[in-house]
């Protein structure tokens, strides 16, 4: 240990002595780190975007229903004290938005389709989800008869902005609800359910149409960014504060999506390991070459009294310095590009005009990067680990060199 400064100085000298090889190594590692970080940032961007679409476009972070509503979708399972739920949510800094759902038949000319009518309060909904800003064309719902359609539904009905569509349903009192509605806007792809069969109206219009005086089916909570841990914790607390209601976080409401996102993040690490396996072989080869090249030199050092530990340390430190330089260079290239990609997406609309989907949630064809701690930590951490492991064998080889044979080595 007391020889550490000396060995480090020696290592730096060795690196500078073989400048060309050192630079190639640094460049290779920098490139690998850059690729890994950029790839991780793109994947995370895609996953975060999908999560955002699911949470901020549709579910909200947390939802409250009457027990069983999520399974039964019984029109008469109504929460009658929205104000209380809203007040409790407010204590935790959460906004609350009421929602109503009813089944209807929508018709435009000769085309008709079964739809879910979704009643929302435009002002409150806007604080929980970003659906209003996700319009492809037209304007958002108003308090009058204007409605907003999912993208595929609008195509199925052949209904454009300004068209009048007929809705037909059974009202809460059993009567035949039917009325004309004007198409105000059409959404961008959000999620299969919304895209294919949802018509959004204001709560007031919904109540008039379905002859429903009071109550809501669903209360969506959100309004600030929450990670999974916070969602789980808040869900528990709110469930305790709201007896008689079923309070669920979005991973419970959309378990398939949550699992897909989790496993995609796991797959990312596997992908990084594959990239780095190639890097490990490159490092192993380069360090081993460096050791074999200097067998005689190491023999002299041993003969002069340096122990195996010192030689082992020398090789490891030489390698470590190169890896750190490579990592820093990679970071310096990757981070600005990732930051740029956060606001300047890769536009894939030419490949897929309409979004495809993950677990029923639409993927934006504009691909943004996302800079998070894990996006940097995984690529750098794995790189460090793999660099150390790859250098162990050459370093051991150097450490246990036999000075007698080594001195005769040519």
């Amino acid at each position: 240990m007391r020889r550490l400064p000396f060995i480090t100085a020696l290592a730096i000298k060795n690196i500078r002595r073989r400048r060309q090889r050192s630079l190639i190594m640094v460049a290779a590692i920098a490139f690998a780190v850059f690729i890994a970080i950029y790839y991780a940032a793109l994947s995370e961007g895609l996953l975060a975007n999908t999560e955002r679409n699911a949470v901020l476009m549709e579910s909200g972070y947390i939802q409250a229903h009457l027990p069983g509503y999520l399974e039964e979708h019984d029109f008469y399972q109504l929460i009658n004290d929205f104000a209380r739920v809203r007040a409790v949510a407010g204590e935790f800094g959460l906004a609350a938005a009421p929602r109503l759902f009813g089944f209807a038949l929508a018709a435009n000319g000769g085309d008709s389709a079964g739809v879910v009518l979704r009643g929302i309060d435009p002002a409150l909904e806007d604080r929980v989800t970003m659906l209003a800003s996700h319009l492809r064309s037209g304007s958002w719902v108003d308090g009058r008869s204007g409605v907003v359609l999912g993208t595929r539904l609008s195509r199925k009905l052949g209904a454009g902005i300004g068209d009048e569509i007929v809705l037909l349903a059974q009202a809460a009192d059993g009567s035949i609800a039917n009325d004309l509605f004007r198409v105000n806007g059409i959404l961008k792809p959000v999620a299969n359910e919304i895209d294919q069969g949802t018509i959004i109206v204001s709560v007031a219009v919904f109540r008039r149409f379905f002859v429903l005086k009071s109550g809501v089916h669903e209360i969506a909570l959100g309004g600030r960014v929450l990670d999974r841990g916070e969602v789980a914790a808040l869900t528990r607390v709110l469930a305790a504060r709201l007896p008689g209601l079923e309070v669920k976080g979005w991973p419970e409401i959309a378990p398939v999506l949550a699992r897909v996102l989790d496993s995609s993040r796991g797959a990312l690490v596997v992908m990084l390991l594959l990239i780095y396996a190639a890097m490990a072989i490159l490092i192993l080869n380069a360090v081993l070459m460096g050791v074999f090249e200097r067998v005689r030199e190491f023999g002299v050092m041993r003969a002069l009294g340096l122990g195996p530990a010192a030689l082992f340390g020398l090789v490891m430190i030489e390698n470590g310095i190169i890896v750190v330089c490579g990592g820093v260079c990679g970071l310096m290239v990757a981070v600005p590009l990732v930051v740029y990609g956060q606001s300047h997406p890769i536009d894939l609309t030419f490949l897929a005009a309409d979004a495809s989907s993950i677990a029923g949630v639409a993927i934006d064809p504009c691909w943004y990067t996302s800079l998070t701690v894990s996006v940097l930590a995984w690529p750098l951490g794995l790189m460090a680990g793999i660099a150390v492991i790859a250098a162990v064998y050459p370093a051991l080889h150097a450490a246990f060199i036999n000075p007698v044979t080594a001195l005769g080595y040519d």
Binding site: L105, A107, S112, A113, G114, A169, A171, A172, S175, I176
Partner: protein, 258 residues
């Protein structure tokens, strides 16, 4: 969309067409006899043509509903039903032509063709489905009848006939049991079972009266098995047979006329 079926109503159908099935090919004495009975039962409400007025009462856990309906029918495939009461829904009409059902809504002045996704939806908020209307004329093609019981049950001399779907038929019910009053050959009750053998709903017939020289049950009550206290009851106020209609009567144009 399976829950879709739960909450939808639609305008009218013809009650005349709900009751049971008819002739179905089959072999054996029992089958032939069962078929003869079913044909007789089925033709009770049906002639070349019919015209009637009925009241419908729907009782559910959430609402009660009283309607007055006027219906016209010709043969097996054509029918028109119009709501006379309540005023809010007055004029709403349903046309059945073959396997297609159209609804006219006076409030919006639009004719809507019901899609397959709405066929299992409730009809006018009742315990009948739109599918009941369309399938009524196809039961004969889809089910084979067979006698499963003859004798006295709950004090009535009756014959029980089981309708089983044919192997290739795409049907809703796995089995329909029909009890028929033996002496008058009038239906007493139809019980509908799903593929798990569970009773889903029962249709009871009562109020046997003479109407336009025919003796028939004038009250039908549909009772769902899983919703205690709920039912839909239809009561004929008048019924006449053998009318002559212009061909244009059962058309979309006629549907729009008040």
């Amino acid at each position: 969309m399976s829950f879709f079926a739960k909450v939808m109503p639609f305008a009218a159908v013809i009650f005349v067409l709900f009751p049971v099935p008819v002739q179905a090919a089959g072999i054996g004495r029992d089958t032939a006899r069962a078929r003869a009975i079913m044909t007789r039962v089925d033709d009770l409400w049906r002639a070349e043509s019919s015209h009637g007025v009925m009241v419908m009462r729907v009782v559910t856990a959430h609402y009660q509903r009283n309607l007055k309906l006027e219906e016209w029918s010709r043969g097996r495939d054509e029918s028109l039903v119009r709501i006379l009461y309540p005023p809010r829904e007055n004029g709403t009409a349903t046309l059945k032509s073959g396997n297609t059902v159209y609804t006219w809504l006076p409030r919006t002045d639009r004719v809507i063709r019901l899609t397959s996704s709405t066929m299992m939806a409730t009809w006018m908020g009742s315990h009948f489905t739109n599918d009941d209307l369309v399938k009524a004329s196809r039961l004969a093609d889809d089910y084979d009848p067979g006698i499963v019981f003859t004798g006295v049950r709950h004090g009535i001399d009756l014959i029980e006939i089981a309708l089983r779907p044919r192997p290739d038929a795409a049907v809703v019910w796995d089995r329909i049991l029909v009890e028929v009053d033996r002496s008058r050959t009038l239906p007493l009750v139809c019980r509908y079972y799903d593929e798990d053998g569970q009773l889903v709903r029962s249709l009871f017939f009562s109020g046997v009266k003479m109407m336009d020289n025919r003796l028939l049950p004038t009250v039908m009550r549909m009772v769902p098995a899983d919703k205690p206290g709920e039912f839909t009851e239809i009561r004929y106020q008048s019924l006449e047979f053998g009318l002559v209609f212009a061909d244009s009567f059962f058309s979309v144009n006629q549907l729009r006329r008040r």
